[in-house]
């Protein structure tokens, strides 16, 4: 039988002291779209759910020396933000493709990354946008680059006594173009078979001056394809170069997709190869559109 109590603290300080008091007996709940499903499917629950929904001050999308997005910001808010659509296009594409309107109206960005599914749709975009996760805990604040945040399938560096409060994206991302491809069988209500995010920066004469590639469902955690990124830097932007980057990204140097019921490994590699190139092209077009 499912049995739990709930607490609705009104401030972050209260959340932190409750986490300390209840320890492993408690779990945080934000939008609840992962938590409620898990309770129902496993017929198990923590003793206490600590709700974050009263923390309205952690719902924001701001720009001042970089972008700041509160952990309780819903995917719907990201989808409807013109700034996110124009300036953080990959994140816009990731958030807008999560579940349905009903899910996006309550599900949060913080919940998506803390749940840490290998398929999390905002993970690839946040990786290529070079986001930093800001956590608050008993010892105060700390910041962790998103590339170091995921430690395993459904595992992160976020400790039991900590709360993720913000995602920070550096202001230099303004000079990048970005794009995210969610490969799935249907257009909606489907987890990705594979996710590919790319962010590019161009120098003079269309030379790629910086590049980031993020892959999801390609390894136990969302990953950066560093070798393919290194290859791109300093190269001219053209189809051959992008195709080669796709090959490197799909190689064991960068990823280790597995065979699963939903898709076999060889096919995942082909998607990576194809879509790293396509998303690279799209990211580059977006730089040109905005300048």
């Amino acid at each position: 039988m499912i049995e739990y109590d709930y607490l609705k603290p009104g401030s972050l300080a209260e959340v932190l002291s409750l986490l300390k008091e209840y320890g492993p007996k408690a779990a945080l709940i934000a939008g609840g779209t992962d938590v409620m499903v898990k309770i129902r499917n496993t017929k198990k629950s923590p003793d206490v759910l600590i709700s974050l929904r009263e923390l309205k001050d952690l719902q924001y999308i701001k720009k001042n020396s970089g972008y700041h997005i509160g952990a309780l910001t819903t995917h719907r808010m990201l989808e409807q933000s013109e700034m996110v659509q124009k300036e953080l296009a990959a994140l816009h594409e990731g958030a807008s493709r999560i579940g349905s309107v009903q899910v996006r109206n309550v599900a949060t960005l913080g919940g998506n990354i803390c749940n840490a599914a290998p398929s999390a749709d905002t993970a690839g975009p946040l990786l290529v946008l070079d986001a930093t996760v800001v956590l608050e805990g008993p010892e105060g604040r700390r910041s962790v680059p998103i590339a170091e945040f995921f430690t395993g399938t459904y595992k992160t560096v976020c400790q039991a006594e900590e709360v993720v409060v913000e995602l920070e994206i550096p202001s230099e991302m303004e000079q990048f173009g970005s794009a995210y491809w969610k490969h799935s069988r249907r257009k909606a209500m489907n987890l990705p078979i594979l996710g590919v995010a790319v962010a590019l920066k161009l120098g003079d004469g269309d030379e790629i001056s910086d590049a980031r590639i993020g892959l999801t469902v390609a390894a136990p955690t969302p990953v950066r394809a560093y070798k393919a990124e290194e290859f791109l830097k300093g190269k001219p932007l053209n189809d051959d170069v992008l195709a080669e980057a796709g090959k490197i990204a799909a190689s064991p140097d960068c990823c280790s997709p597995r065979d699963s019921l939903r898709c076999e490994s060889w096919y995942r590699c082909e998607i990576i190869e194809t879509y790293v190139a396509r998303m690279g092209r799209l990211a580059a077009e977006r730089i040109k559109e905005s300048s």
């Binding site: 499912i2 049995e3 739990y4 109590d5 709930y6 609705k8 709940i29 609840g32 779209t33 409620m36 499903v37 129902r40 499917n41 629950s45 759910l49 709700s51 929904r53 719907r76 579940g99 349905s100 309107v101 009903q102 899910v103 109206n105 309550v106 257009k187 909606a188 209500m189």
Partner: protein, 157 residues
């Protein structure tokens, strides 16, 4: 089993309910208030049959913990028709366009359509389709539903 007392607005009425803490909004609507318009199809956010409006936004009531509803405003399919029994234009449009066959998805579909039209009175076909992407229908094939929502938009304008 531990209970919780919640007060909220339900179809314009101020209500209070005392139910087990672990209940969802859907269970409370159906079993405490006996409003059985919202359906349980899957219970895990996949089908949309349980869709209701909370504070102006369509949500899956099967995933909504009842303790989160305190102070909020909930509209269900039962709250759409006028007091004299005449139907809301969205309901009317579903009837006139054969947007209803077995009816199991219908309350959820109509609430999702309401969630769309309240914010966007002049939606494109793409916007209509994306607003009901989380509502599964096993009967109609969706075409008549999309047409019904389009017709409702035109009537409401």
């Amino acid at each position: 089993m531990k209970k919780v007392t919640v007060s909220f607005t339900l179809n314009k009425d101020a209500v209070t309910a005392e139910v087990p803490v672990t209940w969802t909004l859907l269970k409370t609507l159906r079993e405490y208030f006996e409003l059985t318009g919202a359906k349980e199809g899957c219970g895990v956010g996949e089908c949309g049959a349980c869709t209701v409006i909370v504070d102006g936004e369509a949500v899956n009531s099967c995933l909504y913990p009842i303790f989160e509803i305190e102070g909020k405003s909930v509209t269900t399919i039962e709250g759409l028709a006028n007091e004299d029994g005449t139907l809301n234009p969205i309901q009317q449009a579903f009837l006139e366009n054969n947007g209803v066959q077995c009816g199991f998805c219908t309350s959820g579909m109509i609430m999702s359509a309401k969630g769309l039209l309240d914010h966007n009175p002049d939606p494109t076909e793409g916007e209509i389709r994306s607003s009901i992407a989380g509502n599964f229908c096993r009967c109609t094939g969706y075409v008549q539903i999309v047409e019904a929502i389009d017709m409702a938009a035109k009537t409401l304008k």
